[in-house]
Symmetry: none
Subunit: 199 residues, 4 copies
Amino acid sequence: MDQAHKTDDTRALLLRSALLCFAEQGFEGSSIRKIATRAGLSLGLLYHYFPSKEALLQALFAQSVELIQGCFLEVAAESDPRRRLELLLRVSFRVMKEHRDFYRVSYGVRMQPGVVAGLSELILLWNTALHAQFLELLEAAAVPDAPTRAFLLISALDGACQQYVLHPDFFPLDAVGELLLRDLFSNLPPVDHEPSASC
Amino acid sequence: MDQAHKTDDTRALLLRSALLCFAEQGFEGSSIRKIATRAGLSLGLLYHYFPSKEALLQALFAQSVELIQGCFLEVAAESDPRRRLELLLRVSFRVMKEHRDFYRVSYGVRMQPGVVAGLSELILLWNTALHAQFLELLEAAAVPDAPTRAFLLISALDGACQQYVLHPDFFPLDAVGELLLRDLFSNLPPVDHEPSASC
Amino acid sequence: MDQAHKTDDTRALLLRSALLCFAEQGFEGSSIRKIATRAGLSLGLLYHYFPSKEALLQALFAQSVELIQGCFLEVAAESDPRRRLELLLRVSFRVMKEHRDFYRVSYGVRMQPGVVAGLSELILLWNTALHAQFLELLEAAAVPDAPTRAFLLISALDGACQQYVLHPDFFPLDAVGELLLRDLFSNLPPVDHEPSASC
Amino acid sequence: MDQAHKTDDTRALLLRSALLCFAEQGFEGSSIRKIATRAGLSLGLLYHYFPSKEALLQALFAQSVELIQGCFLEVAAESDPRRRLELLLRVSFRVMKEHRDFYRVSYGVRMQPGVVAGLSELILLWNTALHAQFLELLEAAAVPDAPTRAFLLISALDGACQQYVLHPDFFPLDAVGELLLRDLFSNLPPVDHEPSASC
DNA sequence: TATGAATGAGCGTTCATTCAT
DNA sequence: GATGAATGAACGCTCATTCAT
């Protein structure tokens, strides 16, 4: 049990190191040696836990996707479309801040389809699912131009996230998020609601 | 003069090959050999024109930035802030379509600050200049929340461009652009204007 | 005593696994891990029994050489040179079939003198001893050209074994053995004898 | 033309180095670095001429097989079965001496089927073709037990070659060859012929 | 201007081996 | 006895870069 603990720690240590390296130098720019060294471990040990560099990235994605999906669970609990829409956006912005490094990795990877098999597909899937959800909610909330607006929303979210990831100290993510929400709801009959909570 | 012509052609040929390679395979994924071969030229000749792979990318950026800035010249001619704002956005969307490959390269590179010295700074500068311009125009057009809205506009533009670059056949760039414009001007007193032209 | 039994079993299990791996994949192609896994044992345990991969191969040779030499014991009991010669050949062919995997390992190893210290010498010794024995028997049996014929016999034996090891389903080892015997004795005054038995 | 000469020399130099390394240390035991260093060239240059270690071995085989087949051309010119059989054997023994290193490589490789794709098949093919030729000639020469004797002949040849390759200073290849021939023809009605020549 | 032979640092990966438990 | 985490040297290979022609 102690062993298992140690084992999990080592794995987590390696994943963390990989996350930072990939985020800072990109996937191709991060050598396996750097990742292991940064974790304070040996090259061979990394291969004890992950069969390849690709597997490391995939594990990183698996881990992060799971964490992020967990954050969105609270959204599912809300049934009112408008409040749900708001919640979805708020959680999205919160997740950006909490998983900045992962988004950096993801943005770096998605422009190079060949890098890791299956990952582009996963990212595309994620994107599509988000769009579908926005579309559904916008229609349910009777927002005009729902199809195009869903695309615009995704764009704004994606763009804000990238700007934030690139210039975290400069880009006012929260303010931009609030403005986005205000714009979205400004022309609709008001609904009273209290904002939402933790991840 | 003929010689100079030939020289320029060769340079352009190499830059074009580099653009396509970088866009398709990323910077790290494109070997100097592939670029030269794709241009139908020899490895040594490439080095005759560009001292390094980095220099090739830098030249690519310099060339594209110049081309793109040329597109924005017409914007400067417009003095009315609101029409100028509209023009700026319209040109932006047009440029995205015309320089999709370059944007792909740019998006792939900007997440890896170390890749090529000076490029991150250039991209940041560009971004900052765009933001400054939006800010100035929004304020001049009396759009509320100008500072934050400038960031939001940049985000939406950036995000739309990425979505378009990633899924050109799926993402409705024009419609999203129109909606963005409509939103922006919907709450302002209408101004009559005729849209603008070529790049 | 029970423990010792277990110990011997484990050792034998590992040797058997090594034999099969080496025979199928060669010495260099067989990793210590594969050998341990195939035996259903852990990596550490293998090192408990054998200090190195080389030692494993050496033990394998020691074991097989002993087993094979046991098969030749019955030859020593025969005092008539001609019958002894025949017996020696018959046993040789029998041993090839019973130790095919070992011969495969041996043939794979003997072409790479550096692989395992001492093994080449052992193989050479074996070869020399066999030659000496043939020479002695041929002379005692008054076979002409005994010295050269001893070399030819060794060659035929060696070659037949290799052919058999490489193409066990295709090469008619028994028939070749019989023909070899017939040739050998065809020009000598016949001697009545009954063939020999098990290993 | 001078360049091409240099290029061919370099290629040949590398092939020669590979032949020696493979012969002495085996395929797996010879690192690409060792081969390049032994040729006095750099690691990268080797890859300039051969795309992989496998390709190097394949080129080595292609080259040697061609050389060896050239040696057998004179056999085809002989139409009398018995003389042709003798010629075939004589050339075989001559080739063994002239291509000892290659045979060593070949013997090392053929016990590890997975090493290089297609090579095992090639070796098997060669073997089969040789057997077929012996069979045909033995039958044409009215030698009894032709089918089995063809196998025995191959075995003796194969074995003699291996013995010679392993102990070139000890194994009397020529004498063994002569004895083999004498045995083969001893029981047949004599045919007057003069032996054959160069490779 | 134009070529491609030549170089070697660095990469991802494997694997025999050690050692704390 | 038994485990498998941990190590690092060495491997096959890629690729940006240099240079003689």
